[in-house]
Amino acid sequence: MREFMTGNHAVAHAVRLCRTPLIAAYPITPQTPIYEKLSEWEASGVIKGIMMRTESEHSAMASCIAASLTGVRTFTATSSQGLALMHEMLHFAAGCRTPVVMANVNRLLAAPWGFWADQLDSLSQRDTGWIQLYCENGQEALDSVIQAYKIAEQVFLPVMISLEAFFVSHFMEPMEIPDQEGVDRFLPPMNLPHQFDMEKPGFLVPVVSSELYRKYKHMAQTSMDSVKEVAVRVDHEFKATFGRGYGIIEPVMMEDAEVVIVTAGSITSTARVAVKALREQGHRVGLLKIRYFRPFPREAIQQALRGKKKIAVIDRNNSVGGGGIFCQELRAALVHSPDHPLTYSYIAGIGGTDVTPEVIQGIVFDAINRTGPVDESIWIMEE
């Protein structure tokens, strides 16, 4: 069914279609419409589960973890400060190997205060052990939530779906809502091997020895390593069922490209327009969309960028003192590549500033004109 709606409501539809019986959340702009839509559906009986209105995001995540361990699908949505408050529980969710799925609407972190798009909130949670993916638009957010459950419930790791504030969360687009039957077929009931057994009460998160701790962290790493393969398979199945697929990365017009723009999230869609225009002007420009950030699709990226001369990574985020985070990860992934390309880091769109096709063209020309390496990130500062 095709419907005109926002990215937030697209996420809510996905949660409904996955028949998630436990939703625990706390409202925060710009995520609140997800919370409101699910609340409304709970009240009217459209969704059958329980919507817990917790007193904080920390509690929301704690509730999801506990519920997940009883063997049910869980969902929460948050943003920015809420995600930051959740931080401690994010480690618990991953450490307890719970397949919790969360939508995070990327919003800048205070201070100063603001509500605008910026990926720093979720990227700050890089090392919590969550699978992370970044969505280009509402449709992808909807589809990614459904895919996320299928992946999470195979590898027992939580998944964070990120969509940018307003550009995705509030923009309305025509979207395809999968039918319930199809989703039911695609997504089998959840089966958690370590779910609580009422017949055999146990205590979770006991103190363990150093060796045991290491063992479980290694197991988590092994599981995370397997995600790339699982994610590709799930994406293929999804495409076969619903006709849409995204890959873990997406190379666009990469053949013969001399400069490759690398993006994640909503800037990708603008970049598609900019690249097309540049191609029409005769410039050999390509685009690489990175969808998965954790696990970082190292091999796929290495392969996609093999033989490229120049790379321009656009980051709507900045690690103060470190630069654009996607670029850092990409540089690390390419460090052993033969003929290591010149990799430029551009900071654009911070704090929700607009990244127009012209801005992207400017970045491409800047990269074309450069001859030597630049270590620092280059800030795009036009008004």
Binding site: C96, R97, H194, K200, G202, P206, V207, L212, Y216
Partner: protein
């Protein structure tokens, strides 16, 4: 060092993705980490301290609120043999002491006491008696609230009591003074029956000093004198012995003995106490139009405030600041009372202001009849002179008189006069007699069985330590600041029901019909339960260690001290100050 082996992380859990322990963290004695421990300290509620009879108010209200009316009745009966009477006629000083006064409004304690009696009127409660291997013979003279209470408690302690009563029926002021519309005879009968059921020998129609001499009572091991104060005090002015002037106590006695008293249209009642109110309201019921004349103002009236208010509602008029100086019979058979106009002069802070005459200012009132009720005196004609002083039988704090083995209490001794103080002195005398006969000093023991810091004694505490001859120290009283009011919501005080005024004035039907069952439930739920655990489970829910438990059978609160870190959360979460943290020595 944490003992990992005790955690028993299962071999099979290695196959799982996370560690699960099927052992218990109880092996870690976290209780050794703290420096303080919670202690359950049952404390005294301020209402209990304020009640002269020492009613275990917090406990009985908890039981009533839980619907356990039988247990609530038995709880009151440990300290007070007259819940049905007190629930109707008590001046309820408890409610003035209620901590809830500082929050919104006092709990309806008096009405709840009555409800507990009314709800259990068909039941036979179990009374808390103790065995006695050396029972003594005790004579009690006068079967009013003091004498009956003394008899009750002595009988509970296994003594052999003989009750001498000059009249044909027991009850004293409850039977002959208080009118039926305030205290139905059926209620009194029920309560006296319960007391007599303990095996008390009664000798009615035997006036000591007439039918037998006081010396004849020497064959008893101890004597308690509680003859009451039944004689109206004369005004001491010209004309008061006219046939048109009656004494209030005589008037009430005639009504209470069932006599069809005829009274004229216009009545003047002189006095401001409960007797004056009883007289005025009784006269209203006999069809009279009544004016009460009192020498101070309404504020200073010794009568229970509710009684004054109800008298006003029933049409009684008041003439304040007047003192009679002369009574004359007029030719038209009316009487004229000349009153001196008075004004008040402030005295020291605690005392009532004194009325003093306004020179040359008089008020004349005419009526068909005058009834005086300016106080009651004690008939001391049969009391040996050595035992009396200033119109009273003389007794000390332990109620012992100058006579050997003779004790005295109730309205005949110099103490505040009310039903509940009479009950209190009956209890005090019973304990005093028991201790004296056991060769112990009553006053020394009194200081240990007090309820709070006032004079009231706890029979339950006394009996608990009696066998051992050893009592602890009195418990502290919970003050308002110790109540965690965050756990309460303001709520409206509940009032009992009343019959229609038109119906009330047609006869002597009881005016108050008490709380509805819903009213009782709501009233009980308003109680802070100061110092008494009412199983609110706050400590259980708030304990971060999960080590507070309640036994489902005896509902005892237990704390696993081996795992209590002494954080004090339970103590702060307790709304009623039942838990205090104590440093580990």
């Amino acid at each position: 060092m944490v003992r990992f082996e005790s955690m028993k992380i299962c071999a099979e859990s290695f196959e799982l993705v996370i560690p699960i322990s099927y052992g218990s963290t109880e092996v870690i004695d976290t209780g050794t980490w703290g420096f303080q421990k919670p202690e359950t300290i049952f404390m005294t509620a301020p209402c209990e301290e304020a009640c002269p009879a020492g009613n275990p108010i917090a406990r009985f209200i908890y039981l009533a609120g839980d619907g356990q009316y039988g247990a609530a009745l038995e709880t009151i009966l440990k300290e007070n043999p007259f819940p049905g009477v007190c629930g109707r006629v008590c001046s309820h000083p408890c409610e003035s002491g209620c901590n809830r006064n500082q929050y919104d409004d006092a709990v309806s304690i008096n009405a709840l006491e009555r409800y507990v009696f009314d709800a259990t009127v068909d039941r036979s409660p179990e009374l808390h008696s103790v065995p006695n291997s050396d029972p003594k013979k005790i004579a009690i003279v006068g079967a009013g609230p003091a004498g009956l209470s003394c008899a009750y408690f002595l009988a509970l302690m296994g003594h052999k009591v003989t009750l001498f009563e000059a009249r044909q029926e027991l009850g004293g002021v409850l039977r002959w003074g208080i009118p039926e519309y305030r205290l139905p005879k059926s209620v009194l009968k029920k309560e006296i029956g319960r007391i007599l059921g303990l095996g008390i020998e009664i000798k009615t129609g035997v006036a000591v000093g007439k039918q037998i001499s006081i010396e004849a009572l020497n064959r008893f091991d101890a004597i308690f004198l509680s003859p009451g104060a039944g004689r109206s005090i004369p005004l001491g002015i010209e004309g008061e012995n006219l046939a048109k002037a009656w004494r209030g106590t005589d008037f009430l006695q005639r009504i209470n003995s069932g006599e069809k008293v005829r009274v004229e249209k216009e009545i003047i009642v002189i006095g401001g106490g409960n007797t004056a109110m009883d007289v005025a309201r009784s006269a209203c019921r006999l069809g009279s139009s009544v004016t009460v004349a009192y020498r101070r103002t309404k504020k200073e009236m010794p009568a229970i405030a509710d009684e004054v208010e109800e008298a006003e509602q029933e049409g009684v008029r008041f003439e304040f600041l007047v003192q009679p100086v002369e009574i004359k019979l007029l030719k038209n058979r009316k009487i004229r009372v000349k009153f001196q106009r008075m004004r008040l002069r402030k005295t020291s802070r605690d005392k009532r202001p004194r009325p003093i005459p306004v020179k040359g200012s008089f008020v004349m009132l005419e009526a068909d009849r005058l009834i005086t009720a300016v106080g009651e005196g004690v008939d001391l004609s049969w009391i040996p002179q050595a035992l009396s002083a200033k119109g009273f039988i003389k007794s000390g704090p332990s109620l012992v008189t100058e006579g050997s083995r003779i004790f005295a209490g109730g309205d005949a001794v110099d103490q505040q006069r009310s039903v509940v103080t009479a009950i209190s002195s009956g209890k005090r005398a019973a304990i005093s007699i028991d201790l004296s006969l056991r060769g112990q000093d009553p006053e020394e023991v009194f200081s240990k069985i007090r309820i709070g810091s006032k004079e009231t004694l706890s029979m339950e505490t006394y009996l608990n330590g009696r066998e051992r001859g050893n009592w602890g120290e009195p418990k502290g009283v919970v003050v308002y600041d110790q109540i965690n009011t965050l756990f309460f919501k303001p709520s409206e005080r509940m009032w009992g029901e009343r019959i229609d005024q038109s119906k009330a004035l047609k006869g002597f039907l009881e005016v108050h019909t008490g709380l509805s069952s819903e009213g009782a439930r709501l009233s009980a739920s308003r109680c802070f339960s100061c110092g008494t655990c009412n199983y609110c489970y706050n400590c259980y829910f708030f304990c971060p260690e999960g080590i507070v438990s309640f036994d489902p059978v005896d509902r005892m609160r237990r704390v696993d001290l081996d795992h209590c870190k002494g954080c004090g959360t339970c103590s702060r979460a307790c709304p009623r100050h039942v838990i205090e943290m104590r440093l580990i020595s």
